[in-house]
Symmetry: C2
Subunit: 147 residues, 2 copies
DNA sequence: GCTTGACCTCAAGTTGACTTGAAGTGGCAG
DNA sequence: CTGCCACTTCAAGTCAACTTGAGGTCAAGC
């Protein structure tokens, strides 16, 4: 207990072994040693992975997350970056809310064709003018999940 | 006027010519003809592009958008799909709001280390349990913008 | 001692939405 | 008529974050 092999880490964290090796290569995690060829991890790896997962969900790239970890000797995490990301997320939320309202309107609108609905055209105009363009954070498709 | 060449469309829509060709190849748009080799577009292309931009911002893939267009002879746009996407966006917003609150808390928290802050650990636990995993819609990095 | 199979490494493939580059064409100003 | 250069095509490259595959290693159970 407290020394985990890679499959155990994968099982407990939900992160595939291949991803764990990849993260190690990228410098995001480190094993505490080897038994023969096999990596051994300490229990702290699970917090680390949760942190990575959190960072990813917040829109940080792996590089950014890695940078935060190496700068971790610095007093704290980097409250400025966290705040900045929070603000960014606020903007993303605002964009998404506008999108959602637009979609709902389009779904409910009685106009014979969407193109004839003034509200829809307004939204379209906003889209055309790039109002929905990603600031840094954007929408993506294609979640790996069911393998 | 009212017949646009590709660079004019690019200029007015903000969509690069290479992307316009790509969209044509993918069946998202069509030119109304050619002058020699050169594509000619009607003014309707601008609405079309706005629509595509809107769809992209909403998280639809190019394939999904193309499907909507070909199904466009169908009564309307497909209010069900629009509603569904709106709901999806709602969930995304909820996830993002949770994330943002977490980040803000982490930025403001006085605990000596984030790992010792109960709120942060709670958020971390949520991240670890996959609460922030994308349902279909997720966060992305890497916006083309400059250049 | 031998087999098994989970683990290893390293290179290459995947996905989506484009961009870039090389090589060719042809409309139009001069 | 000529030359320029914006346009064309088609193949290949890019980016991020992984996954997959081939071929190899070795700890443990029988």
């Amino acid at each position: 207990m407290s020394v985990l092999d890679i499959s155990e880490v994968a099982r407990r964290s939900g992160v595939p072994a291949s991803t764990l090796r990849y993260y190690e290569e990228r410098g995001l995690i480190a094993s505490i040693g080897r038994r023969g060829l096999r990596r051994l991890f300490g229990p702290a790896i699970l917090d680390r992975l949760a942190l990575i997962s959190l960072g990813r969900a917040a829109g940080f790239s792996l590089d950014e997350i890695a940078a935060m970890f190496t700068a971790e000797h610095a007093p704290q995490f980097d409250r400025t970056a966290l705040s900045a990301k929070a603000n960014e997320i606020d903007h993303t939320i605002a964009r998404l809310a506008a999108m959602r309202d637009g979609l709902r309107h389009a779904a409910a609108c009685r106009a014979p064709s969407h193109m004839e609905c003034p509200t829809f055209r307004r939204i379209l105009k906003a889209a055309a003018s790039g109002a929905f363009e990603p600031p840094t954070l954007a929408l993506r498709r294609g979640g790996r999940s069911a393998r």
